[in-house]
């Protein structure tokens, strides 16, 4: 069975995100989130877990896609701080941003 292109893109973006969160904030993916949690993964430094939302695109406006994902992450029900990683494969650009839940809702 073939894997749809958007799924391959999301998996590739996840690969990039794993490297970025390990390299910069020093985190590793801990678990998959549940349905409706508004972000994709829990990442951890061994003491605390934070949210991680990942998106990938072959083409298109990466910044507006990133902003939309940040907005989505802001709706998480746990009130945790977290990261949003967006990867643009055609332009070979990745955006990794950190967000505080309470500041983001001001």
């Amino acid at each position: 069975m073939g894997v749809p292109e958007h799924t391959v893109t999301e998996w590739a973006a996840l690969g990039v995100a794993c490297i970025l969160v390990a390299l910069y904030p020093g985190l590793k993916i801990q678990a998959v989130t549940g349905q409706g949690d508004r972000f994709d993964y829990w990442v951890s430094n061994g003491r605390k877990d934070y949210g991680l939302e990942v998106t990938g695109t072959l083409a298109g406006d990466l910044e507006s896609r990133h902003a939309a994902k940040v907005q989505q992450w802001r709706e998480n029900p746990y009130g945790v701080d977290g990261y949003v990683v967006s990867v643009g494969f055609r332009a070979a650009i990745a955006i990794c941003s950190f967000h505080r839940f309470h500041e983001s809702r001001a």
Binding site: A31, G34, W42, R47, K48, Y78, G79, F98, R100
Partner: protein, 139 residues
């Protein structure tokens, strides 16, 4: 950017076995997604039910370690897994259990309330459809 400590869900005091169970649960959730995409609903439901039982264990262990926020997180995930597996009764029971916690954060309370309401609405629709189908087959 503020230098204040980051707000996350505590995991201090949890052992390697806990992390192993989290990984197993994650694998089951991903497996269920794949099975649903392949129209293998029965196998997907079995994976989700197994994930739900792991989440219940993780919730209990979190509570025993004094990590209430983490316990709520795993309990809500258990509710979500049971609902996706088709067990509305257990899903709503866990939602009601969460809503009975006086200090549940407002954002999580709102999410759980909405989710429980959605489940009750869907359950009522399902009962109505089932009654209709049963009546039709009796004719």
């Amino acid at each position: 950017m503020s230098s204040a400590p980051k707000n996350g869900i505590e995991r201090q005091g949890l052992d390697g076995d806990f992390a192993l169970k989290e990984a197993q649960k994650s694998e089951l959730l991903l497996q269920a997604q794949l099975l649903r995409a392949q129209d293998r609903g029965e196998a997907a439901a079995a994976s989700l039910a197994e994930a739900a039982r792991i989440e219940e264990t993780l919730s209990e262990r979190s509570l025993a370690a004094g990590l209430r926020e983490r316990a709520w997180l795993h309990r809500f995930s258990a509710a979500s897994c049971w609902a996706q597996a088709g067990n509305f009764y257990q899903a709503i029971a866990w939602c009601d259990d969460l809503l009975s916690q006086a200090d549940l954060p407002a954002s999580l309370r709102l999410r759980v309330e909405r989710y429980a309401q959605q489940l009750r609405t869907r359950r009522a629709q399902w009962y109505a459809d089932l009654a209709l189908a049963t009546a039709a087959s009796d004719v």
